[in-house]
Point group: C2
Chain length 429, copies 2
């Protein structure tokens, strides 16, 4: 039997999952692939640290070079995270003729172009199934099962922490703060949840999906990103009345030669399959021009689930290493096929909640403002009165965001408008 | 660029989807794969028949041999359906050194062993993504993305017609007959829906999933199969009260060295992701020992979606044809890893609805019968009274089916039991 010698860099949550998964299923993995996988070195920061998994101390090293310069190692599995050491190590590994598996979304989203270029130059492969949505098979299905499709749209719930918070707010009426606290208690989110809450974590993953689905790897600053900080219990209650749920959605959509990429809190009909994705789970909904609509659902994180994804890459790498005389990049070779379209040009429906003076003529004044910017309204509902103020909820038809922004700017100058409390995109697909 | 010459056998719904899909996305498919795909011959029964797609008449042939014996054709795509001509053609194609793509579930489920053997013998590949659940990527994800996992359980909604009927019965209160009629009107089911309703169609697909997930291809008679004919509006209403939905589930479960395979109507909690799969859609829920729980969802049939699956196989076949010096069977090479366990040994919870005489002591008599066969009850609820009769609903704890069957046989002999109206498995996973 052929043997693959693996150099594992990083032994945190995912690294431990890889070691444990390989131990649990060693026999099946070798039987199915016809290859023996041997983790021969593991790079850690501190050799003395207590580990989640048992590992032979002799295998531990502390310097990347001990793996990169080891001629016996043919596969480097990068699970360090972050971009500095990880990037340097991945580039050097490729240069020294090794294939690379990584679960590092920041790295692929931010430095993908350079890394893919380097892989090509060296005729090596790079695999990154674990970088998006943990254990859910997404990358291989997009690359292979939908190989004949033109992807028109992807809608993802790609961050477990924010979905957990929104689920608790919706299902048991928690406040944002209480839900966040619970997510932290149960360990669904990082000690510092900023990147989760702000949508940045999901934006990295959307960038990678854009590469796979649209053959276009954006600059991170081209991905519009808005978090869930401003979603209030009041908006969630209105969403329910409207038959919808509020979810933090990562949406990629092709229109002509441009693609729109945005991570935004959205209202979406309860009937849509992605609306029923609860708690810390993730999902990706894909619309292709042949397959129509498919969805992938499962755990977006976790030691063994992400370990499973990394191991599937390791097996694939092993099979390709021994079978293919000439390497080709495992992802689509283009990464610049479309332009990223500016957010203002995007068309969507919106929900607006505002507080206005409760007096005759105000409804028509507000409707008039929207009309004058070409924003047509689906409904205006007055929901609550207090003293001389009324809260109203508006739903617009599809409108260009630029026009909506102009209408809002005008609205905020009006004396009869006390406050624009929130604006939330409505996803209708 | 390399060219693959395809011989397409059959130009019905799926065949037309393949031709149309290839035409729509020709450019992208060639760009991504680096291969030109040319459908050079198409076998049909009647050359004069009007077609759903445009096709050059000169390509039409009527005899399988015109494709099988054509040395220029390197890939045969079998979309004839059924087992006679299809089986013969596939075996001959493999013998003449051609790779084969098929979307024929009956063929793979019934004659898989012989066909895989023949492929191995000739060092050819056989691909069958289109055979299960139309466009939903299932087979490649099971083979590749979950390559490192031990699959413990699969739960599928694998038949669109029955799911459409059950959805209409549950969501809008239709009777079985009315829902079936509507499914026929909208073209979701065959002219003769027997194989759908009886569960046989789903059973074929479950057999293929058992091969992929458990490396065990059963004889079709080993797959327990029960249809939805006896699901009544009354059961659906009780399911709702209990917070559940009734679905026709295809369940494969590993226990020790045996696997249970059954297609049965089941009650399942509304909270379970598969319970929210509506209408003609299909889904597969998979539990692996590393990845935990993932689900794949989408259209289970249709011309373009199934065409998309067949095309993904065609692309894969093309890539492997030019890249791999030695062929290996694309599915796991084992097909007999486990024994199929007999249905009577399966353990599950059950819902029973029965009509009994409404008099003192009857509850305890019934509870006593179950107790004496080792079946423990979760609840007994009396739901309705009419004259001297009462309808009661029972939920059991997990019990061996053999014990339940014995209890039911005893129950049916009792004078105080007027009728056992229905027994439905409860899926708790």
């Amino acid at each position: 039997m052929e043997t693959i010698k693996i150099g594992l860099m990083g032994l945190g949550t995912v690294g431990s999952g890889v070691i444990e998964g390989l131990k649990k299923n060693q026999k099946e993995i070798s039987e199915r692939s016809g290859i023996e996988f041997d983790v021969s070195k593991v790079m850690v920061k501190d050799k003395q640290k207590k580990r989640m998994v048992e590992i032979d101390e002799k295998k531990l090293v502390t310097e990347p070079e001990e793996i990169i310069n080891d001629p016996d190692i043919n596969l480097v599995v990068e699970l360090i995270g972050g971009c500095d050491l990880a990037k340097d190590s991945v580039l050097k590994a490729l240069d020294s003729g090794k294939d690379v598996v990584t679960a590092n979304k920041d790295l692929i989203a931010t430095h993908g172009k350079e890394i893919f270029e380097k892989a090509k130059e060296n005729k090596r492969n790079i695999y990154f199934e674990g970088s998006v949505a943990g254990g859910i098979p997404l990358i291989k299905p997009l690359q292979e099962s939908l190989a004949a499709d033109k992807i028109e749209k992807v809608i993802g719930i790609l961050n477990g922490t924010t979905n957990y918070i929104l689920t608790k707010m919706s299902d048991v009426g928690y406040s944002f703060d209480r839900a966040l606290e619970e997510a932290q208690t149960y360990g669904f989110c990082e000690a510092d949840p900023t990147n989760d809450i702000s949508g940045l974590d999901a934006a990295y993953k959307l960038a990678i999906l854009s590469y796979l689905g649209f053959e276009t790897l954006p600059d991170m600053k081209e991905v519009y990103c808005s978090g869930i900080e401003n979603v209030s219990q009041r908006d969630i209650q209105y969403a329910k009345k409207l038959g919808m749920e509020i979810k933090l959605l990562a949406v990629g959509e092709k229109e002509g030669d441009g693609i729109f990429l945005a991570v935004v809190p959205c209202m979406i009909s309860k009937e849509h399959p992605i609306a029923s994705v609860k708690g810390e789970n993730n999902a990706l909904f894909v619309k292709g021009n042949l397959v129509d609509e498919v969805m992938f659902y499962g755990p977006g994180a976790g030691s063994l689930p992400t370990g499973s994804a990394v191991l599937s890459d390791i097996i694939k790498a092993g099979k390709e290493m021994f079978k293919e005389p000439v390497k080709e990049l495992s992802a689509g070779s283009e990464n610049n096929k479309y332009k990223i379209a500016p957010r203002e040009e995007f068309e969507a429906s919106f929900y607006l909640r505002l507080v206005v003076k409760d007096k005759p003529g105000v409804f028509s004044e507000i409707a008039g403002v929207f009309g004058s910017y070409g924003v047509s309204l689906e409904s205006i509902i007055q929901e609550k009165k207090e003293d001389e103020y009324a809260e109203i909820v508006l739903l617009t038809h599809k409108t260009k965001i630029k026009n909506l922004d102009d209408a809002i700017a005008d609205l905020e100058k009006r004396e009869n408008v006390y406050e624009l409390s929130n604006v939330i995109q409505v996803e209708k697909s």
